[in-house]
Amino acid sequence: MEDKTFTISVYSENNVGLLNRISGIFLKRHINILSLNVSESEIENVSRFIIVVDTTEKWVQNIVGQIEKQIEVIKAFYHTDEETIYLENALFKIQSSLLFDEKQIQNIIKESQSTIVTVSRDFFVISKSGRRSEIEELYAKFKPYGIMQFVRSGRISVSKEKMEISSLLEALN
């Protein structure tokens, strides 16, 4: 079986220590997490983990099984890229003088549909949401001018298909 990118979604109780348990499952199997995002979900008091890994379908099935087994995990799913809508968020911090001296910079901002978050005397900050490739493309464009700081978030995603989590919770409650 070949490696593919999978997005694992975990719905869980919002408890201390669960991140440790979940990351341990990847650690034990020596699988590198490419990106990790934890936040509130659409359901009150339920957290959602979004974990991106490159691995085989058999392994991802195994891992999801092990994750679901954790007491505080309500349900875990995995999806391929084709089955989800996903994006990442990036911030670029760039020297302010460039905004005025380099005409091209303004064009890059416009064309990439990124937004200026803030401008100060010394620097300005651009935010860009999109797929990894779009962010990387933008990075390449800014690079020659000098990037003071760059940061990218973990992947966030929603599935194209309905996730049966709400009805599941209703049945449990």
Partner: protein
């Protein structure tokens, strides 16, 4: 009524039906010990000699009784000493609750005296763990702990309680836990899967059952027997499934795996339908996965969804409670006898008897006492009624291969983790849990010295366990591997041993050492007749090997007879 957190801990244990706990005191758990003192009429505390002993004793208790074992320790070194036993319980699905003391909440994370992150340390080896920092959390969390430990696929739970939470007072009330929203311990049985499984079994020419500890944990021994007898399917067992079916049952074809019997291993790669009941295809059982039962359609009866297709791809997965599943499948099964298929097992058993078993049980003249004949002698005097607790090594394989069992929950051994030092404390727990039964520990000279201090617990509590040391003056199992796979280079496996009898006598335990075959019978008879604990050292052949054997990474049908 307002009570302290420490008193609440005791009241919670009592509410869960606990009457016996194993432990070792220390600073961070002293409030709980103070309450143990007050409640000693209702809750018996056994002082072990090392916290590892507390976990193994709790495990032995749990395995012999089916109840939850409880171990208590202080923070820091007390807590870390529990880890081996917790890991052992986790991999062998043993229900256990461990309670550790912790430094006060205001000191957490400050590297305080005897502070250790036991939640972090125990996370990978517990079914669940939780740190209590407020007294008022105690009832709910302990109720959850017992529910999680004993339900579904059982396992160990660790509860860490800060010292302030033990001292603080709160309004106490207790309610047992009956469910947790994010935890579904027993998947609902799907009757269409049961029907699919039944159809496969009814059409099979060479069906084969492999059963594991799930049968014992699910209390499905009667159902297993009925299922085997109606379907006529031969059944082999994993090391933890041993004793779920009486050894003498005519459809019992023996042990699977690395040192299992010849027939069941060979015929795993011949059967057309493989019915796995409450077992998880451990690599010691399957050998090389790529060649394991490839010709067979696999039906997996299992409570833990994460085990389905983990190692072996199944044709039909019957998820749920194994007892319920067997009850459901029984009426759908056609009565069969599969005589010629049985004969294949019998033929292979004959080969094993001639090439291995005869020599092991009746060694040719000039050879020292064998481990196998010692087990036979124990069978003779126990009549198959004893609980046999074995440690880890060659003697364990001989014990599991040759011990006879009439009833369930009688074989207690460290299967998944293979923890040397397990047997002595586990035997203490087993005997305390089942005082009505004879408990015999079978231990190697190596493993004995890993928890030898528990002789002190035996002496202090007067628990009448029988201890048999099979002394080959080697770390035998490792020596065997060195002989077979490392060109006889015996690196650090020779043991220069102390006078074990003198040590046991130092603990005031009746002792005997046997070096001659002709003395074995009388010594075992004396041990079994003793009302008190008894220590028997048997000097056995030094360089004996356990066969059959499937070398690591080999295929089950490449099993070697010599």
């Amino acid at each position: 009524m307002k009570i302290s957190g420490a008193e609440a801990v005791i009241r919670c244990l009592l509410a869960e039906g606990v009457d016996l706990v194993y432990g070792y005191p220390g600073g961070a758990i002293m409030p709980v010990y103070d309450e143990l003192y007050k409640f000693q009429d209702q809750l018996h505390h056994v002082l072990v000699r090392h916290e590892q002993g507390a976990t193994h004793a709790a495990q032995g208790y749990a395995r012999a009784t089916g109840k939850v074992g409880v171990a208590i320790a202080t923070s820091g070194p007390g807590a870390t000493n529990l880890v081996t036993g917790i890991a052992d319980a986790q991999i062998d699905s043993t229900p256990m609750v461990c309670i550790t003391g912790q430094v006060g909440k205001h000191l957490l994370g400050s590297d305080a005296f005897q502070e250790t992150d036991i939640i972090g340390i125990s996370t990978p080896v517990t079914k669940w763990n939780y740190q209590i920092t407020e007294a008022s959390e105690i009832p709910e969390i302990i109720a959850k702990a017992f529910y999680i430990a004993r339900s579904g696929r059982p396992g160990p739970v660790l509860i860490d309680i800060t010292k302030n939470a033990q001292f603080d007072e709160f309004e106490f009330s207790y309610e047992k836990c009956t469910g947790i929203r994010s935890y579904n311990p027993v998947p609902k049985l799907k009757l269409d899967k049961v029907a699919e499984a039944a159809a496969l079994i009814n059409n099979a020419k060479k069906p084969f059952i492999v059963f594991g500890q799930g049968i014992i944990l699910g209390q499905a021994e009667e159902q297993l027997k009925a299922f085997i007898e109606k379907s006529g399917v031969p059944a082999g067992w994993t090391i933890l499934g041993l004793s779920a079916l009486p050894t003498d049952h005519p459809l019992n074809v023996g042990m699977l795996g690395m040192h299992g019997n010849y027939g069941p291993n060979m015929l795993t790669n011949e059967c057309d339908v493989l019915i796995a009941l409450g077992m998880r295809f451990d690599d010691r059982v399957t050998g090389k996965l790529a060649t394991y039962a490839k010709q067979a359609k696999v039906i997996h009866f299992e409570i833990d969804p994460a085990e389905i297709d983990k190692n072996v791809k199944t044709e039909v997965a019957v998820l749920g409670d194994v007892k319920e599943a067997l009850n459901a499948i029984l009426p759908l099964i056609e009565k069969r006898s599969h005589d010629s298929w049985h004969n294949e097992f019998k033929e292979l058993y004959k080969i094993e008897v001639e090439s291995v078993i005869n020599e092991e049980l009746n060694p040719t003249n000039g050879k020292g006492i064998s481990m196998g004949e010692t087990m036979e002698m124990i069978n003779k005097h126990s009549k198959g009624d004893a609980i046999i607790v074995s440690d880890v090594g060659q003697h364990q394989m001989f014990a599991c291969r040759y011990a006879k069992f009439n009833s369930t929950k009688s074989n207690i051994t460290s299967g998944g983790l293979g923890t040397m030092g397990f047997a002595l404390p586990a035997a203490i727990g087993a005997k305390m849990g089942r005082p009505d039964r004879e408990v015999v520990a079978i231990i190697g000279d190596g493993g004995f010295q890993m928890t030898i201090q528990e002789l002190g617990t035996i002496f202090q509590t007067q628990v009448p366990v029988k201890i048999v040391i099979l002394n080959n003056e080697f770390l035998g199992m490792v020596r065997q591997w060195q002989e077979l796979f490392f060109d006889n280079r015996y690196a650090s496996t020779k043991m220069i041993n102390p006078n074990f009898v003198a040590i046991a006598e130092g603990y005031h335990i009746k002792s005997k050492k046997v070096t001659q075959r002709e003395d074995l019978d009388a010594a075992v008879a004396e041990m079994m007749a003793s009302k008190d604990s008894y220590f028997l050292e048997v000097m056995v052949e030094k360089e004996n090997n356990v066969f059959p054997m499937i070398p690591t990474g080999a295929c089950v049908s490449e099993i070697r007879l010599s």
